[in-house]
Amino acid sequence: MTITSDAPGRVRTVVADPTRSAAWRSPLVAPLALAGAALLGALVVRVVDPNVAGHYPVCLSLTLTGTYCPFCGGLRAVHDLMLGNVAGAFGMNPLVVLGLPFLGLAWWRWMRRAARGARVIARTPTWPAWVTFGVIAAFWVARNIPALQGWLAP
């Protein structure tokens, strides 16, 4: 009876292990998948023009309160960037244009850690988060000030 009981157990573990412990379990899967998804999204935004009304949902903040949120114009900025128009993108949303390099840097650090086999997120001090919040909040307020909307509003 031990033979019959061991057999199914071994068969199942043998079937389950290779699929999990192979390439799909590599720490590189998550950052690469995220990068692929981001690239796919950017391509969609390039093809489907966000300057045309109705192509994307309207920002909820703009609809309900009439004020620009920090990311209003972000899709148009990405659209311009994908067309190589950095100045146009900056005019739509300078925060997104200036923030993308930081996102890329964070992603690169993630890849380097993953390449060394680390799965856990790198420990960071808390101040970058607060600085990010301060920048976003300041930009949020500033782009809704009428005198500054010529530069900061989409």
Binding site: M1, A53, G54, V58, P70, F71, I121, T124
Partner: protein, 159 residues
């Protein structure tokens, strides 16, 4: 058949071989499965709520540093910031990140590697709300498109 053998077996051997041949097969399988399942069970609390993500093997290197540190406080702070931003901006992606970081922050506090799990908790809740709002917006937007396409008048898109 267990009746005649019953009184003899339980006393002679601690295990109950009641069925003899047919019953034993079930017990052994739990053993091979029990071993791999056991480690995740040790982290039982965070694992079930963790959803489809990384799953137990990803996070368990909890035995990292000595206890009582603040080295993972960044998780909670980032979760809170992203939660606030996604809450007010209807951010779907940032909401997801806020939820993930919030859960990791709470776990880090449970492991003595962070002291601000409450920030992670707030960020997680805000992230979930933001996800729900954006899902509702997307659904409503799709409904509007369907209505607009069937009514043949594109005036509904004037917004």
């Amino acid at each position: 058949m267990s009746l005649p053998g019953g009184p003899q077996d339980p006393y002679s051997t601690p295990q109950q071989p009641a069925g003899g041949v047919p019953v034993p097969p079930p017990p052994p399988p739990p053993v091979p499965y029990g071993a791999p399942v056991a480690p995740p069970a040790a982290y039982g609390a965070p694992a079930p709520g963790y959803g489809g993500y990384g799953q137990p093997p990803a996070m368990p290197p909890t035995g990292y540093g000595p206890m009582g540190g603040t080295e993972k406080n960044g998780l909670g702070t980032w979760s809170l910031v992203l939660g606030i931003v996604s809450f007010f901006c209807g951010g779907f992606i940032t909401g997801i990140v806020a939820v993930i970081l919030g859960k990791q922050s709470k776990r880090a506090q449970a492991n003595g590697q962070a002291t601000n799990g409450n920030l992670g908790q707030i960020g997680m809740v805000l992230g979930w709300i933001a996800i729900a709002i954006s899902v509702l917006v997307i659904i409503g937007w799709i409904v509007l498109i369907i209505i607009g396409s069937t009514s043949t008048s594109s005036t509904t898109f004037s917004n």
